[in-house]
């Protein structure tokens, strides 16, 4: 198997050039999908038989929650790559992605609270799903804190990578919390092996919104990684040349 593309990803210079080509189009594609999905969901999708209009917050809540978990999965993989292969790009990725994932977890928690009040009758309850997502948010905070407070860069990279990998254990707990324990949160409406528990005119805008969130997060992460690369590689020849030529 040809691993050249994988090894290329490890080069900050190569990644910077690749990302400067793709970050902006990816971000705006995400924004477009998000707008289409959310407007479709908020205005045109049918109301729900039980919750009426209230359920429409699903078009933000579910994508944000999925992204919070996906971002963490990517952090865990990057942490593993750093601890085993010592790739330079991995800590750059962790540092850039952690705040984005934390924002997604925060959106999921806040939109969930707003949704919970009118439907369940409470903003918050310490059930397994809500608590495990709060733990996810705190893990993000821990990674951000480690990356930003440890002055020794190598130590900061190492510590953040270790927390990222260990935190992976939380992901199956979040996913299966609603099946393993009695919770106030309902079980999943979607799964890879089952039919969605809603008709197509409801899940199609949700899917578009979800795709939008993925692209938006990818674009944001690439932007953040670009500036992080410039910062970390500021003493290298190619960054100096780039700054001299483009005045970035």
């Amino acid at each position: 198997m040809n691993w050249v593309w994988f090894h290329k990803l490890g080069s900050p210079k190569w990644f910077f050039q690749w990302a400067s080509k793709w970050s902006t189009p990816v971000f705006y594609l995400g924004l477009l999908c998000l707008l289409v999905g959310v407007i479709w969901g908020l205005v045109f999708a049918p109301t729900d038989y039980q919750q009426g209009e209230t359920y429409r917050i699903i078009y933000v809540h579910v994508p944000a929650a999925v992204l919070a978990e996906s971002c963490y999965l990517s952090l865990g993989v990057a942490g593993l790559v750093y601890l085993v292969w010592q790739m330079k790009m991995a800590p750059i990725f962790i540092k850039s992605m952690a705040p984005v994932g934390a924002a997604m977890a925060a959106i999921a928690l806040i939109s969930g609270a707003i949704w919970g009040k009118p439907t369940w009758g409470t903003w918050w309850v310490w059930d397994a799903r809500l608590t495990s997502v709060l733990v996810l948010f705190i893990l993000y905070m821990g990674i951000i804190a480690l990356q930003n407070t440890l002055e020794d860069v190598a130590l900061a990279n190492q510590a953040a990578a270790i927390v990222s990998v260990l935190g992976l254990i939380n992901l199956p707990i979040i996913k299966y919390s609603v099946n393993w324990w009695n919770t106030l949160h309902q079980p999943a409406s979607f799964g890879l092996t089952k039919k969605p528990a809603m008709p197509m005119e409801m899940w199609l805008p949700l899917l578009i919104s979800l795709v939008g969130f993925y692209f938006l997060v990818a674009g944001l992460a690439m932007w953040r990684m670009q500036s992080e690369i410039l910062l970390r590689e500021r003493r290298s020849q190619w960054v100096k040349e780039k700054v001299m030529n483009d005045g970035v």
């Binding site: 049918p46 109301t47 729900d48 038989y49 039980q50 919750q51 359920y55 699903i58 593993l80 601890l83 085993v84 292969w85 009118p118 439907t119 369940w120 009758g121 409470t122 309850v125 310490w126 059930d127 397994a128 990998v165 260990l166 992976l168 254990i169 707990i173 393993w180 324990w181 009695n182 919770t183 106030l184 309902q186 079980p187 999943a188 409406s189 528990a197 809603m198 008709p199 005119e201 409801m202």
Partner: protein, 154 residues
């Protein structure tokens, strides 16, 4: 793979495995603390602690909701289809509270076997559908034999 990298990978895999097993055992041991509520069966079998605030959850039995005409008092039963539990509550119920719907109530068991709730939360299932579809389903269900009626999750 380079032997050093292989060693690191195996070390991480072992640490992850040990930690997740330990956490799994802890979560299993704490299962009853993590469960948000006791089911009517657990309460009937005496698994729920006495004389302390607990949560009880189940599906509101159809036709069991009795409201007082002059006050906010309401009495209803919840069931897990094996046992049922009578709950009394004073206050405004959440919008989604209705018969056949899952609820979680927080309160205490009284000596007469009635659960006195200080808070009632409504659960909803993971299914979403437009009202017309729901009406059509209900109509189809009423037309068919009772054996085909499905039981909602709670």
């Amino acid at each position: 793979m380079h032997p050093i990298r292989k060693k690191r990978l195996i070390t991480i895999a072992i640490i992850l495995f040990v930690l997740s097993s330990a956490l799994g055992l802890v979560l299993y041991a704490l299962q009853q603390n993590i469960n948000l509520f006791y089911s009517p069966t657990q309460i009937a079998l005496g698994e729920a602690p006495q004389n302390t605030t607990i949560r009880a959850g189940g599906m509101v039995v159809k036709g069991s909701v009795k409201r007082d005409a002059n006050t906010l008092d309401v009495v209803f039963s919840v069931t897990d289809f094996k046992h049922s539990l009578q709950i009394q509550y004073q206050g405004i119920l959440p919008d989604l509270f209705r018969e056949g719907q899952g609820i979680v109530a927080q309160g205490k068991m009284l000596s007469n076997g009635v659960f006195s709730a200080s808070q009632v939360l409504a659960k909803h299932d993971e299914k979403y559908m437009p009202p017309e579809v729901s009406e059509a389903l209900e109509k189809a269900q009423n037309d068919s034999t009772p054996t085909s009626s499905s039981v909602n999750d709670y």
